[in-house]
């Protein structure tokens, strides 16, 4: 559906994209993840034909974006980082303009009414865009991308500036779109990709450093080996006993705690569930467990881990193999 091959993008001396290749299949929702300035927007702008790449190819539905831009653009609905709204226009006027601009052939009224219903902006259709709140503007921006019902949707940070309720609505909307559209969305909010996307592409400093199914990344994040445990008992004794326990790789006093007890971080050896043992031992000693929380890595930590790993790989001497030349 979307194919990007060996794309480089150079702004003067700055390399914004460095040999990026990926494919997005029909009906997939793919999340573009990366810190600010990593090249997410540049990548999306190239796929939509707004920018050109310095070298490399991008195609949508088998149509090359540079060779046949008009045909390719018909296949794409695009919400840029800043929604392209004309502030002096009314919402309905604006959508009619987009309808004409995209050379739409669907029934005008029915199609636009449907879009306004889906994005929940029908109640503001007579209002001037400049007077709308940020949440509504964002939704008008999304509505604009839906005009013409293009098979591919590209959203650059679609939920920025929305309140929590709207964020959930927009995520549901995108999830629904994903049922019969191909969707790429970019964000730096990890929970967003986790809740919406089938696949995650992580981009850092212009390079694609991970291309994984969301489940895999989530699994890597949800480790069953680390726990935080709060115990009502003497700190030093508890710590000593925890360390002595079979299968415990690491036990540390976090220094936290309150009247209920002290908080410890415990990590098990690979493949061993230490919860039962820990419970039995502490119960036998008469130190009740007040809280036991599995401490999976947050997606933020996974992200930091992946980017750090990548940096280490790149800066380590002698391991740059294949990247020269």
């Amino acid at each position: 559906m979307i194919e990007v091959r060996n794309v480089f993008k150079q702004y003067g001396n700055v390399t914004a994209l460095d040999d990026v290749s990926f494919t997005v299949n029909e009906g997939e929702i793919v999340g573009f993840l990366g810190p600010n300035g990593a090249g997410k927007s540049t990548m999306m702008n190239i796929v939509t034909g707004y920018l050109s790449s310095t070298s490399g190819e991008a195609s949508v539905c088998g149509i090359d974006v540079l060779e046949n831009p008009d045909e390719a653009k018909k296949k794409i609905g695009y919400l840029p980082e800043q929604p392209p709204l004309y502030r002096e226009m009314k919402v309905s006027e604006y959508l009619n303009f987009v309808y004409d601009l995209k050379k739409c052939t669907l029934n005008r009224k029915a199609h636009l009414d449907e879009i306004m219903a889906v994005t929940k902006i029908a109640n503001v259709k007579g209002r001037v865009i400049g007077n709308l709140s940020k949440g509504y503007r964002q939704r008008v921006g999304i509505a604009q991308a839906l005009v013409g019902n293009p098979p591919v949707m590209i959203f650059d940070e679609p939920t920025v500036g929305l309140d929590p309720k709207q964020i959930i609505e927009i995520r549901n909307l995108i999830r629904n779109l994903g049922k019969n559209h191909t969707v790429i969305l970019s964000t730096h909010i990890l929970s967003e990709v986790r809740s919406v996307c089938d696949r995650i592409l992580i981009i850092n400093e212009g390079r694609l450093i991970a291309d994984e199914k969301t489940e895999n990344i989530a699994r890597a994040a949800a480790s069953d080996r680390k726990y935080t445990v709060k115990v009502a008992g003497p700190r030093r004794d508890v710590l000593r006993e925890l360390r002595a326990l079979n299968g415990v790789r690491l036990a540390e006093d976090t220094g936290d705690g309150d009247a209920d007890g002290a908080v410890f971080a415990v990590e098990a050896e690979r493949g061993i569930d230490i919860r039962k043992q820990m419970f039995n031992m502490l119960a036998a000693k008469g130190w009740p467990i007040m809280e036991l929380t599995p401490r999976g890595m947050s997606l933020e930590e996974v992200f930091v881990m992946i980017t750090d790993e990548d940096e280490r790989r790149r800066t380590a001497p002698g391991t740059r193999g294949g990247r020269e030349g």
Binding site: Y50, K74, I76, Q82, P84, E88, F97, L101, K103
Partner: protein, 238 residues
Amino acid sequence: MTAIFKRELRSYFSTPLGYVFSAVYLAVSGFLFALLTLRASSSDVSSYSSMMIFGFVALLPLLTMRSFSEEKRLKTDALLLTSPVSATGIVLGKYLASLTVFAGNLLLSCVYIISLGKYAAEHSPVSPARTFGCFFAMFLVGACFIAVGTFVSSLTENQVVAAVGTMAILSFFAAIALFNGMIDSYAIRTVLSWISLYSRFTNFTYGMFDFAALLYYLSFAAVFVFLTVRVTERRRWI
């Protein structure tokens, strides 16, 4: 292109710009007309039209200053450039919308001729050919100026820079017309008068149809429209 043209035209009159421009245009043209024909007891509009094209230097940049710069500043150009419309379509849509607003005002100002026809002295009636020639030539010069303005607007994100930049370029053309006669060197004088938009104006004011001048004006406008198209396309490549 039609969609952009219509939106552009509507946007002139859903923001103050269209009204402000029309008000200033009609005020200036009305004043000059009263001064140079009615007050001068003349039925000849050639001095009026010659003055007007100097007025255009200040007036027409108002019309074009925001056409592309505003789109860039508000990033609405992303919508246009990711729609199945060619850069030529975008530029022509915008150019023709500005031209239409200008032509509308020019047409409105033709009302003045009615009063002139009514009160002209019998021994010097209004000459239809000369009057038409003057207004037609004004339209051509305006079309060229608007092309320059659209081009400058595509170079910047700032409306003020676009307006002042356009005025600077148009002032250069006006300066050639005003001061060219003072240059000693024959060669420089000839070259400058060749690129002058003003020097080709004269034949029209005598009621002559100057085909060479028409062609010159049209190609001048076309060159700047083409340059604007190039700038718009080039935006993708930087």
